[in-house]
């Protein structure tokens, strides 16, 4: 690349900056920026790095809590206290745009990036989870995306040796051409070993560590701040290439380095690479930094400073080391065969100064790139489509006459079918902590050396959010919390990825704001503060924006690993009950979409006080050993939930005999009772002698408690007042459910 001679407005616009923003840059510098400086401003002021559109809205999230040790936005990931002098560091991040252009590497480097955010805080990563969205699998492009993304996650996670313990995958036409790849990483650290991403102590040395710098990923942050277009594949050079082996070395070396006590602060070179890591650590530490760019190791000839500063080559980090301890740091990195080169030092004047040997390259006040970056209050308008889609006249829906057929269609829908094809490609057991494997409501990881375990779940229903962003936002939090409750964990905090269309579109921005408000209300009520996450705007393809898709990553804590619950039925003769009493609805349901081709109606109502009470009941029942299985009712309704409890455990299928007569007050339509969706409800099983004690706990909390039937040997029979609606062999259902996804991909 050659430096352009003159900075003109076209060049400014090509960098995604507006005319006003350019004027602002000139005022800050008191002169015209040079090319390198223009590049630095463009990435630091990009949506991706600056959160310029979302910042004011994100303030609505509750971020405080007695367990919160590092709040959202303070560092690269949130930190919560789990007792025993241990803390959990966790965060979720999107890699949507790179994955849309190059699914394998896009997803792989998404995994790499979030892992670095965790271990640079001193934590050993113990699990990855991911939340994925694709268009319909009937489209070959969506199949290509799915194979690529799953392959990329597997490649990276398996090699580095951090278990990918599940997540969720959802298919809907709105994600056609714009898949979503959200990756959550969780790590554990001793409370007194948490490392901050801060540059402190004038004169301390700044080390560049890890891979050399190339032209890959040039300007990735600004690339992620644009819509996906027909030409986006030309942006392939903006997607980085992952090297999990290098990252494994970085991970081990970093943790060893922290133990040695020489580290002041460190940060991953993620989006906007060397630029953001130096600027952000300086900004948090309220200081300045000076680096000599000629010292940066390069993998290509003739790179100009602009390219070095904006490269997003992977597996690189910035480490600030105590003055006088440089040799100890070098020794550890050399053991792991890693580059570790001092490239600069911490200064006191609040200026970000880049030199190329003796030649000054750039000089910018640090804060102008971070705290003082532009923030916009975007216009928002209630979308016109909402009035039309929210009305659903249930009476006009034809009634299916063969519910066996409907059930099979539902179970083989990729949204409900087993996701085994996906998570079997992930090493989900390495680390020997995975106590509840993928495929349950939540994954459970023990914390070695304690009686504790962590429960993890990802959730977010874009269809609900499309129909009612506020309720959809609330439901995303509640469903994720309910999932961890089902395994016996208390929900303690969330991270999130907020995936939306273009924020300058007032209707999109309305969706965004309402979703955040809904999530904030649920987080407040359920006592799960937001500890971090990210925002991904510009998720549009040539046919329009994706459904608004906030994804919640929920962290739950289990105090005693002897009291973990699983979703599958255990024994013949056990009774099956529905605990909770949300109102069953067809609005926004998978049944409505799959069988009737409609994305309409209102999502099921969510009453937060009922939801909270359900958690109390469920956790108390698990704590007292009264229930043997607990499974959330979500996509596909009660029938689906019951079937899953029969077949999730492939070692031992069970049957069930269900009578829907106790649900009749919900409505007379059989399809509603079977496949309608509902909030704040779980399907549980217990031995007959415990049913009274269980009911008593539910009644005390004023929570609905309805007997559905009993666990049997091999057959699933669902009837209503003696009329048989469904009769199926569960081993058969298992086969259909398990193979559906891989058959679609053949």
């Amino acid at each position: 690349m050659k430096e352009p001679v003159k900075i003109d407005l076209n060049l400014v616009k090509a960098h995604g900056l507006t005319e006003e923003e350019f004027e602002r840059i000139k005022r800050i510098l008191g002169r015209e920026p040079n090319f390198t400086e223009l590049g630095i401003f463009s990435v630091m002021w990009s949506e991706h790095c600056s959160y310029k559109s979302s910042k004011p809205t994100l303030k609505k999230f509750p971020t405080e809590g007695e367990r919160v040790l590092v709040k959202a936005g303070e560092e690269n990931a949130g930190v919560v206290d789990i007792g025993d002098n241990l803390a959990v560091v966790f965060k979720m991040e999107s890699h949507n745009h790179p994955s849309a252009v190059e699914p394998y590497q896009g997803a792989a480097t998404g995994v790499g990036g979030i892992i670095r955010d965790i271990f640079t805080m001193g934590a050993r990563p113990i699990a990855i989870m991911d939340s994925l969205r694709f268009g319909s699998l009937n489209d070959p492009k969506s199949r290509y995306f799915l194979r690529g993304v799953v392959g990329g996650i597997a490649f990276y996670g398996n090699c580095i040796g951090i278990p990918t313990v599940g997540g969720e995958t959802f298919f809907d036409e709105s994600y056609r051409g714009n898949p979503l790849v959200n990756v959550l990483c969780v790590g554990i650290v001793k409370k007194d070993m948490i490392v901050k991403a801060r540059a402190r102590g004038v004169g301390n040395t700044i080390f560049y560590v890890g891979s050399s710098t190339g032209r890959d990923g040039l300007g990735g942050a600004s690339f992620a701040s644009r819509e996906i277009t027909e030409e986006s594949h030309e942006d392939r050079p903006a997607v980085q290439i992952g090297d999990p082996f290098m990252e494994k070395l970085l991970l081990e070396a970093t943790l060893e380095l922290i133990k040695s006590g020489v580290v002041v602060g460190m940060q991953d070179m993620g989006a906007a690479g060397l630029t953001s890591s130096t600027v952000e650590t300086a900004s948090r530490g309220n200081c300045g930094v000076e680096i000599d760019i000629s010292l940066v190791p390069r993998r290509e000839e003739g790179m100009i400073p602009y390219e070095v500063m904006l490269s997003e080559s992977q597996e690189r980090m910035l480490v600030i080391v105590k003055k006088g301890m440089e040799n100890e740091a070098k020794r550890i990195f050399e053991k792991w065969d890693l580059y570790a080169i001092p490239i600069g030092k911490v200064t006191s004047d609040g200026i970000f100064r880049i030199k190329d040997k003796d030649r000054p390259v750039a000089e910018i006040p640090v804060r102008s790139l971070t705290e003082d970056a532009p923030v916009y209050l975007r216009k928002r308008v209630k979308p016109a489509y909402l009035d039309e889609v929210s009305y659903l006249d249930v009476d006009t829906l034809p009634r299916p006459d063969d519910f066996n057929q409907v059930l099979i269609k539902m179970l083989t829908s990729p949204n409900i079918a087993s996701k085994e094809w996906i998570w079997e490609q992930y090493d989900h057991m390495v680390g020997i902590n995975t106590v509840v494997l993928p495929g349950s409501d939540a994954a459970v990881l023990r914390v070695k050396g304690t009686k504790k375990a962590l429960a993890l779940s990802c959730d977010g229903n874009g269809r609900y959010c499309f129909l009612d962003p506020y309720e959809g936002g609330k439901i995303a939090v509640a469903e994720a919390a309910r999932n961890v409750v089902c395994v016996g964990a208390t929900p303690i905090a969330i991270t999130n990825c907020l995936n939306f269309g273009t924020p300058t579109d007032p209707e999109i921005f309305w969706q965004f704001t309402r979703c955040v408000e809904g999530m904030a209300e649920a987080c407040q009520y359920l006592g799960t503060p937001v500890t971090g996450g990210n925002v991904s705007f510009y998720n549009e393809n040539p046919t329009g924006a994706i459904d608004p898709t906030p994804v919640v990553g929920m962290l739950g804590l289990i105090e005693n690993t002897d009291l973990i619950c699983t979703p599958w039925f255990k024994e013949e003769g056990d009774l099956i009950v529905l605990i909770g009493d949300g109102k069953i609805s067809l609005g926004g349901s998978e049944y409505l979409y799959l069988i009737h081709g409609l994305k309409k109606g209102r999502p099921p109502e969510l009453n937060l006080s009922k939801e909270k009470a359900l958690y109390d009941v469920c956790l108390k029942a698990i704590g007292k050993g009264l229930i043997k299985s607990a499974h959330d009712v979500s996509e596909g309704g009660i029938a689906t939930s019951v079937v899953e409890s029969c077949i999730i455990n492939e070692e031992k299928f069970m049957g069930a005999r269900i009578d829907l007569k106790n649900l009749e007050k919900e409505g007379e339509r059989d399809d509603l009772l079977l496949f309608g969706e509902v909030q704040s409800c779980i399907v549980a099983s217990c031995s007959p002698q415990n049913i009274d004690s269980l009911e008593k706990i539910a009644r005390e909390k004023n929570i609905g408690f309805r007997l559905l039937g009993e666990v049997t040997g091999k057959e699933l029979i669902i009837e209503k007042n003696g009329k048989k609606l469904i009769s199926q062999n569960t081993a058969n259902l298992y086969k259909l459910w398990r193979e559906a996804l891989s058959l679609k991909l053949r």
């Binding site: 580095i160 082996f245 070395l249 079997e424 057991m429």
Partner: protein, 235 residues
């Protein structure tokens, strides 16, 4: 008695093996860095799973050239016990300590799941606490676990009783549908002629505690301990 777990820079089951040996089995164990060249004082060497040196070329292809592998070969020649698990098995093949080679899985996908394997030979120092035909519930996690050996060498393996584990059903039946990766003769683990080097694709360290869903792997560690104790008693 002392175990040593070899740590290649890309090993990732090293901690797991270490944890199980120390905390579950209760024996003494050290990590041994791949650049080291001293195996004095160890009774059993574990080559753990992972991606030794990234394995971008071929699994285990670089690891065999590391300084420590020379020592491991020497160690095995002197009768020391060596167990290679997953990537460790691949390294043993590349190093020529065991015959055969690994190909990519039949379905060309990484596969991580619980499988069943049948003990074919309970006469090795690693399997003496099992009985022949016993079925283990044990996880696999690999992309290249499709074991290949030419027919002649296979007959030799069989003749010498070197096939230690074969993939099977819950009831011990060997058939193609229970073979997760397409391995020849459904082979999941083999030993050398002398019986002191074992390579296996399934992960015993992942099923040595009841909290993880299966304890079937524990008997492998305990077999090793018993064998070493007997030998030490003789010495």
């Amino acid at each position: 008695m002392k175990f040593g777990v070899i740590v290649f820079p890309g090993s990732n089951c090293d901690y797991d093996c270490y944890y199980v040996i120390k905390r579950v089995i209760g024996e003494s164990v050290d990590f041994i860095w791949h650049k080291s060249s001293n195996l004095k004082g160890y009774d059993c060497i574990v080559l753990p799973g992972g991606f030794s040196y990234g394995d971008y070329l071929r699994t285990g292809a670089i690891a065999r050239f590391s300084p420590i592998m020379k020592e491991v070969i020497e160690f095995s020649k002197n009768g020391g016990l060596v167990i290679g698990i997953c990537n460790g098995f691949q390294v043993l093949l590349e190093a020529g300590l065991l015959p055969g080679a690994m190909r990519k899985n039949r379905d060309l996908l990484f596969i991580c799941r619980y499988v069943y394997v049948r003990v074919e030979n309970s006469d090795t120092p690693f399997t003496r606490l099992f009985h022949k035909g016993q079925v283990l519930h044990i996880p696999v996690a690999h992309f290249e676990g499709n074991y290949y050996i030419d027919p002649q060498s296979l007959s030799r393996l069989k003749m010498n009783n070197q096939v230690v584990f074969r993939y099977c059903s819950k009831d011990g039946e060997v058939a193609d549908e229970f073979n997760p990766n397409g391995s020849v003769y459904a082979i999941a683990g083999i030993c050398n002629e002398r019986g002191n080097v074992l390579g296996m694709m399934p992960h015993p360290e992942r099923c040595s505690e009841s909290i993880l869903g299966s304890e079937d792997g524990k008997l492998i560690w305990q077999s090793i301990v018993k064998s070493i104790n007997e030998r030490l008693a003789k010495e």
